[in-house]
Subunit: 344 residues, 4 copies
């Protein structure tokens, strides 16, 4: 399959290149960047020297890029993928957007949280969380790849929501991400001496991944869910840990919880159930497409605490995009993703 990456110089784009290099069925044919047009990718990302000879192009000629590609991955800031989606509408090329533009079935939620008008409301799109949306992904024209925090959060909560074990309005997700999640753009906050040896929350009560988690939990449980999501930046590069709290419904036992996790995920290669009482750590999934999950029951408070760890750039972005690509192409889902995490 011929694939192109629109917006290849962000961290997710670079990670797509890293992963696709090992994918036996994919050939990267075009990569774009408006600020580095004509430069070889290895000039911006020296780690790709000897790996890729490609030069960055402008996306101005998106239609021809689309004609020349079987799949287009989009790594643009939110609000910019819709124009690409519309431009490629009549072509056979299929799209995997790593941003938020195609993640919401109700575009008014997108408009409220992202503060931009949705200009492609009738797009044929599916939500791209591979383990939960596999069937719809298979034939999708446009896949709205799930976000990083949301992937970790939804995978941790899904069995509980699906089996109606929790009161979905008691959900609190306290999430922590490595700094690569804040992107490649330089800011005072992510200047090394400002970020190193410090820890803080941000966007409390209004982070844009909140409605995405709510959408998924509501769909799984069949009940409208409103929840709290709190992100924090950790002084490390990669990795997300989501600590998810919810009150168990009366009469729910620990065994029910165990069963729900096992039932939903027992055949999922990329989900490693660590079990009840276990502590996933981001180091064990670093660089890989795995999501490790553990859960705990607090009898004193009647709450379940579910923990999930992913690599935000892999299962939380580029790896999941390739997994979705595999599903959409009918390949084995592990194709190009069957490698071990990198530790230490």
């Amino acid at each position: 399959m011929k694939v192109s990456i629109i917006g290849a110089t962000g961290y997710a784009g670079a990670e797509l290149l890293r992963i696709l290099y090992g994918h036996p069925q994919a050939e990267v044919v075009h990569i774009t960047s408006e600020s580095h047009t004509e430069e070889p990718i290895s000039a911006i990302y020296p780690h790709l020297d000897g790996i890729y000879d490609l030069k960055l192009e402008s996306m101005k000629d998106i239609v021809n890029i689309g004609k020349d590609s079987d799949f287009v991955f989009i790594g643009l800031p939110h609000g910019h993928a819709m124009a690409v989606g519309k431009a490629l509408e009549g072509l056979p090329v299929r799209i995997i957007d790593l941003g938020a533009d195609y993640r919401f079935s109700d575009t008014s939620i997108y408009e409220t949280w992202y503060k931009v008008p949705h200009t492609h409301k009738n797009a044929k799109r599916v939500y791209g969380l591979a383990e939960l949306c596999r069937d719809k992904i298979r034939n999708a024209k446009i896949i709205g790849n799930a976000g990083c925090y949301t992937t970790a959060s939804i995978l941790a909560l899904a069995p509980l929501a699906k089996e109606h074990l929790i009161d979905v309005n008691t959900i609190i997700v306290d999430a922590k991400s490595g700094t690569s999640g804040a992107g490649r753009g330089i800011k005072q906050q992510t200047h090394f001496p400002d970020m190193y040896d410090s820890f803080a929350a941000y966007n409390v009560a209004h982070h844009r991944h909140t409605p995405e988690i709510e959408q998924a939990v509501s769909a799984l449980s069949g009940e409208k869910c409103t929840l709290n999501f709190t992100p924090h930046l950790v002084p490390m590069s990669r990795g997300i840990l989501a600590t998810c709290y919810a009150s168990l419904k009366p009469g729910v036992h620990a065994d029910d919880v165990d069963e729900a996790y096992n039932n939903l995920y027992m055949n999922e290669h990329f989900i490693r159930l660590r079990g009840r009482g276990a502590y996933p750590e981001t180091k064990w999934v670093r660089g890989s497409n795995f999501c490790d999950i553990g859960w705990h029951i607090d009898e004193r408070t009647g709450r379940v605490i579910a923990l999930s760890a992913i690599d935000n750039l892999v299962k939380g972005a580029a790896g999941q995009a390739v997994q979705n690509f595999n599903i959409a192409c009918g390949f084995d889902e592990k194709t190009g993703l069957d490698f071990a995490p990198i530790y230490p």
Copy 2:
């Protein structure tokens, strides 16, 4: 005042030495360590070379150390301070225990969570969280210095509990600590390559700081409180951030919350209210006795999210101990603690 430190070679002991060096009213006369007896403190802690000439002694002769001291600080693992407290019972020396032995008014709670019998149940003791227990600390014989996570958590929750603004049984504290909080003893988990670039929770639903927070919230609110407390280790050295969630009672407005924080802390030098919508960061308190607090109201879910940042070794241990010492001695509370955080 002549002061001694029993168990001086842990991180809290070393930090006490650092702080007391700048205290104009305190002279350190004895420091003890059973494993480094007779060694100069600068052999274990080269940063104290040129600062202290003291040699470590055994605590076997605790009575004479007690006779020779106005105050004894105890930096021993839990379960070991009670013997010291009993040995010094008849002497005029006063005690500040940085461990947990004297923190609970109901010793059965201590026994349940710490799994050791309490052997000094009738000790005249007070809980040592300076801002909240000042009056009792003044004349106390034994001060059970508040724990690190608990100091951050209780200071964030106190105004809400005291003014009855929250349902205390909806409290969830999701806390994150720098690795110095795990102590100086070496373990695989805190081996550099295992800790660096990774993030995880531990002791979910059964960390021993849970009942200490519950005790304080119950006392402040007058209602029995059961809560969830989840600690995590951050790949950094110092600092705690506590993210505290609770449901607001019906009819409570954002202004009520603001007022509660301002009323309780307006005259507290070491508590810096960053205000509603603010994000405390551990870097702004590093090395200091400050506790920075911010809070957020989520109208969608009806919850308040309170954030507090401290240096776990200062306000969470040695600094608070010195603050309690100042109160107990009738000194200005800032004595020896009036220095700026160290940034970056």
Copy 3:
């Protein structure tokens, strides 16, 4: 090819497992550990869960392991590989030792620096630095895989020594390694709070990689070389940067230096010449088998400063071992190693 790993629970062993998982021609059949016998490898290294189902065995039955293997990789502390080498002497199995036992042609140098007797002096062994010793590696029975610091240092110095451009007795190698280089065993020095946010040298003038670099430079230049090698630990996990100084011989020009690098390495896939004036960074090689090299000429002092960056666990250990394995098997050298570095 059936391969086994003797001493699989160190960092180099774990890294071998990570790399060999992606090697199409290798099947790992036995892994050993004396302290974790009978445990699944994923119990010690959870990142390998879902990757390997193997259990650790004792190496007591080394002969049968040898009979059952085409290649044995040894990841034992120095001094322990010789017994394995001797035990397998009569078998067709070939050996790649990641330790120092088989690195020296003059075993008295080994004995002087490593303070243990060499008990396998007549072993048919070759030095395992792939780019420089390829021809001998092809048919070797025992390959003494080059050390981590030494790989970085020798690759940086080789063109200069080989072309007689420098006075080999003016060489100073100032090297810096990530903490994984100090191994998985816990020590106070590598306890997270002790290692983090600190920097120091160690083993000045007597690190054991010194004679290994001298051996290689002497062989390349034909002159006996005595040099200074100074290692430092960097508060990061992976990566070595070697900063190598030497005085240029009279009349040597910058172009001669450029030419020497280009001549020696122009066809080497794993050596990426960044060129004169360039600054290799460990982040650009992280997780990969690449060695990035840059060099600088200081006209004022007449010195050349060569810089090389490798991942100490890959090109400095497991990756190089697999490269040597490929050479010894007649495979393409890139087999199983043709993946991109992981950044950020």
Copy 4:
């Protein structure tokens, strides 16, 4: 003494504020910033909230600031202090410049390396490395505070140069600095994910601290010295380690080296000689004005390797400035600097 800080929002300025807060003889009266005029310092540096109430002013009215101050500290980029120095020429106010403008006795060297014309050549200035230039500092009008790398390097080399124990043209200084040394301005290179977990050299053979070290070594030894200086950035916040190599002159023994260090520094409070064979670590000096020194003799190569560790923002900048201020005022040198390093 009334002191002002011109350019107070860089890291060195912030560190000056931290230190001066604890100085019993100094009152900070003016602080300037052109980009943050009128803002309170705590808005930019929240760690100083509750510590300083000062607002930033413009330096446009430098003459009045000078009239209102006994001392002015300058924390501007190089090239900008000369205008301040000239503007204050006729006033009694004295100046400590933390930049490079007043460090060179031969201004042509400054012009060559810094690529700007020196516009204040006849300034009455002294070099501000306290331990070596104390007598001249006492009555100086303008003190050119020594640089960070240079302080570490010169203090390590001074005894060797002064006692003619080394060939000064064999000196190589391989130095490593925490990232705060690169300043507060944001750059891609110091973006957290780019800096973290990576190590590299920069400015090989042309870093501007080179001639400053040469000037000092030449003055001490009486011989013109040309040397190599190579800086590297370490993924940590504070601290410099300088690894200094030089060939011993024939007949020089280890005892001579020991004696040279002891003679020069035996009464220096801020220099802690760790002794021959010792390894200074940046963690033991963090946050303090100490410089820790160790040295090693390599009999095989005839070289001495001297190691020194400082906190780049304290002994390498603000702390040394305060030490110089104390000397210039006739105060005890330790005034305001007599605090312990912060560890861990």
